[in-house]
């Protein structure tokens, strides 16, 4: 079920009413309702893959119990590896099987050996990369004795399948989310209003910004051979705002929805395009994944401790794995590696933590130096997105070659350019709202404190109408495919 669908618009109030008015007296019943609703939410897309979530839940629940009872290191390790193998096994099969097979075949063909193994027609279960990482964090934390495992199966199932963040995150940590299933939730008017406000803003990002930018990004990327360098830059910019609006919009809807049910999910985006360097960008982009890799991969590898070679190795590993997590294609690997190259100079000169606060905090505008840094970081990011969006590395290379040709100086032109102007204007307005709201968790969070009632309601009304007008045919979220 998509957040931007009529189905969800019916589903959400029904679950809300049941949750607060029917099952509100019993915590376990409320949790059970969450599990059933979450399974229903997932099955609406494809019920056949529900079995995977249930199996993964059973395995990790069992592993947690086993780890709690067992003190022998070897057996504890075998429990942990059971969880890792099952979860990554599913992920590997559904997401990476064909990629490895194709590359394996290509390598043999390159050396003159034809091998006859056909690719499988595999459908990638929605959200597998997200819930797999979420359950893995649970077993790893239990193994490391940072977390006491739960014995309540319903509670654990609710943690794994919690519908607001099941299919595209934020990837929650067990020590943050699981305790919330153990305690009674109370409805708070302020949280409820804030949740709705965040949902509204998320929908605006998704359907008004992302989906409209997508039309032109797709047009330009899918026919890139016909366009000049300047048009391709415009295409890359459209994609830059498409992916941000799409993914951060999803996160906002997820966090806002969770708030309606009395849950607090972690922040996933913090205005990444206002970053002054790549390290800051990665502290602000897909925070739940970046911190997951930091805690469960980078730090266990030694992090930034050790010699230069080790730092470089660890940086490349984490960025490449992060790229590969996004999809089984060399484009994502190159995208990851490129970000590692961007990041390394900062790490090696110990400048990777120099911009911890939001840009121009407490001011309306940044100073010239920060503005320059922000613009430069933004350009690096846009350049990297070309690999992320391209069909393959060759496609990305051809786009980049055209961008760095004299045609870069021509006036951008493509079919539908006049319509794109509307989208560009909306994107600029969107950026301004994000800029002036950048000190809040989401851009319109404090709208209520700054403006008088009527103006506030007018803003909500306009956003709501724009969302409905732009809804049209439901467009999937990009991150569903990851």
């Amino acid at each position: 079920m998509l957040f931007n669908s009529l189905d969800f618009a019916i589903f959400l109030p029904v679950v809300f009413v049941l949750y607060w008015f029917v099952f509100n007296r019993h915590l376990r019943l409320q949790n059970l309702l969450i599990v059933v609703s979450s399974y229903f939410f997932y099955a609406w897309w494809d019920w056949r893959f529900l079995g995977l979530i249930v199996f993964s839940t059973l395995v990790d629940y069992g592993v947690g119990i086993g780890l709690d009872k067992e003190n022998r290191p070897l057996l504890r390790k075998s429990y942990l590896w059971t969880s890792i193998l099952v979860n990554l096994g599913f992920l590997g099969f559904f997401k990476y099987y064909n990629f490895f097979l194709d590359n394996f075949r290509d390598v043999f063909t390159f050396f003159g050996q034809e091998i006859n193994i056909g690719s499988l027609h595999i459908i990638l279960p929605v959200g597998i990369s997200f819930y797999t990482f979420q359950t893995l964090s649970y077993t790893i934390d239990v193994y490391n004795k940072k977390l006491k495992p739960t014995k309540d199966f319903i509670e654990f199932s609710a943690y794994v399948s919690f519908f607001p963040q099941l299919v595209a995150g934020p990837i929650e940590r067990a020590n943050q989310l699981l305790p919330q299933f153990k305690t009674q939730r109370f409805f708070s008017y302020e949280e409820g209003v804030n949740g709705l406000r965040q949902i509204l803003w998320g929908l605006f990002k998704k359907v008004v910004i992302a989906d409209n930018c997508a039309e032109f990004a797709n047009l330009i990327f899918n026919n890139s051979e016909n366009y000049s360098g300047s048009t391709l830059v415009l295409g890359a910019l459209f994609f830059t705002f498409q992916i941000y609006g799409d993914f951060s919009g999803y996160s906002d809807i997820a966090i806002g929805t969770a708030r309606l049910f009395g849950f607090k999910l972690m922040r996933n985006f913090a205005y990444p395009y206002f970053s002054r360097d790549i390290a800051e960008f990665w502290r602000r982009w897909h925070i739940s994944l970046s911190t997951w890799f930091r805690d469960y991969l980078y730090i266990p590898l030694g992090g930034s401790k050790g010699g230069m070679a080790k730092k470089i190795r660890n940086t490349f590993i984490i960025f490449i794995v992060s790229g590969f997590w996004h999809g089984a294609n060399w484009t994502f690997i190159v995208w990851g590696a490129l970000n590692a190259i961007y990041f390394l100079p900062l790490l090696l000169t110990s400048n990777n933590r120099s911009n911890l606060e939001i840009i121009a905090k407490g001011k309306y505008f940044p100073n010239i130096s920060d503005l320059g840094k922000m613009g430069f970081t933004f350009m690096l990011t846009v350049f990297a997105w070309i690999f992320f969006r391209a069909e393959n590395v060759g496609h990305a290379a051809s786009i980049i070659t055209e961008i760095f040709s004299p045609s870069l100086l021509s006036i951008p032109a493509f079919f539908g350019m006049s319509k794109a102007l509307t989208v560009i204007i909306f994107t600029i307005i969107f950026l301004l709202v994000e800029w002036f709201g950048r000190e809040n968790e989401f851009a319109i969070e404090k709208l209520t404190n700054k403006y008088f009632g009527t103006l506030k309601w007018a803003a909500y009304f306009i956003i709501g109408v724009l969302v409905l007008i732009s809804s049209g045919k439901e467009q999937e979220f990009i991150y569903f495919q990851f």
């Binding site: 409805f187 039309e215 909306f426 309601w457 732009s470 049209g472 045919k473």
Partner: protein, 307 residues
């Protein structure tokens, strides 16, 4: 909680009402197909692809033939002849019709397919589109259409266009005519023509293949409509450069359609008169020329009807 629910409901109600008003009053600006899914069943139809949708103006037919028409034409992607279009037409037709007039525009693209197997009707590209996915096509408001197809990504820009003081690009009239307002400056027209020729030569011509399944469907449609009135086949004029490409795709088009033509009440080929008319892009008649062509066809039908 009461305050929260009350305020939320009020908000949802106001936004929904405003949206409903937009759909009701501005639908023709917002979506190039929706209105055709909201009319009641019809006795007289204009059928075909975007050439007919933009070119043939029902009000011209009405004034000459003294009966109401619906232009139920869509695009080359949505309404080439085939099982999907045939089923939709059956649903759009008033079953009590006895003396209807049906204008079917034909061209090589509307009986071709871009599929590897041009007769693989299950995978024709119109199958998942609005005519294929909307079962009830005579409802107002049509929630089925709205849910599955409304607007797409252009809805926002179309809406902005509809409330802006400058003239808008497209407006779908209640009678199904898609009015396109576009700058007809000769330099711009030539640019659009060149682009269209390039698209047809380098894309369409390479990918389209004649489909005997589509031709069979067209024949089935003509036979079906003959039970309800008279069927007239028309090949609309296009720019000579486009016609040249079309003739490469189907050099023997008219003889290919011989059986269909024989089953119809008449066939009017206007392709040789391409130089008499103006086109927005070589493929679609301008508003003025569309009215002229509509008049020519009306008069021709009127003469034929008298015979």
């Amino acid at each position: 909680m009461k305050k929260f629910i009350f305020k939320t409901l009020i908000y949802v109600l106001f936004v929904s009402l405003f949206f409903a008003w937009i759909i009701y009053s501005k639908a023709g600006y917002l979506d190039p197909y929706y209105v055709r899914f909201t009319t009641p069943i019809q006795e007289n139809l204009i059928l075909g692809t975007s050439r007919a949708a933009q070119g043939l103006q029902p009000q011209v037919f009405e004034s000459h033939l003294k009966r109401t028409f619906l232009n139920f034409s869509f695009t080359e992607a949505h309404s080439p002849y085939g099982p999907t279009y045939l089923e939709s037409i059956k649903r759009k037709l008033d079953p009590n019709t006895t003396d209807g007039i049906f204008i079917l525009t034909i061209d090589p693209w509307s009986i071709s397919s871009i599929l590897e197997d041009p007769n693989d009707s299950l995978n024709f590209r119109e199958v998942p589109l609005c005519l294929g996915n909307t079962k009830n096509i005579n409802l107002k408001p049509n929630f089925g259409y709205l849910k599955e197809n409304f607007g797409g990504n252009n809805l926002l820009t179309n809406f902005i266009g509809s409330i802006s003081p400058v003239s808008t690009l497209m407006y779908l009239h209640d009678d199904g005519w898609l009015e396109v307002t576009i700058n007809m400056d000769s330099r711009l027209v030539e640019n659009r023509l060149n682009r269209k020729v390039d698209e047809y030569r380098n894309n369409h011509l390479l990918n389209y293949k004649f489909s005997s399944t589509r031709l069979k469907s067209l024949l089935e449609l003509v036979v079906f409509l003959n039970h309800y009135g008279k069927v007239y086949l028309v090949r609309l004029p296009v720019h000579e450069n486009i016609l040249e490409i079309e003739n490469e795709l189907a050099p023997e088009f008219n003889s290919l359609l011989l059986e269909v033509i024989n089953k119809s009440s008449g066939f009017l080929d206007l392709t040789k008169k391409g130089n008499d008319f103006q086109f927005t892009d070589g493929n679609h008649l301008s508003k003025k020329s569309g009215a002229e062509v509509s008049l020519i066809i009306s008069e021709w039908v009127s003469d034929y009807n008298k015979k």
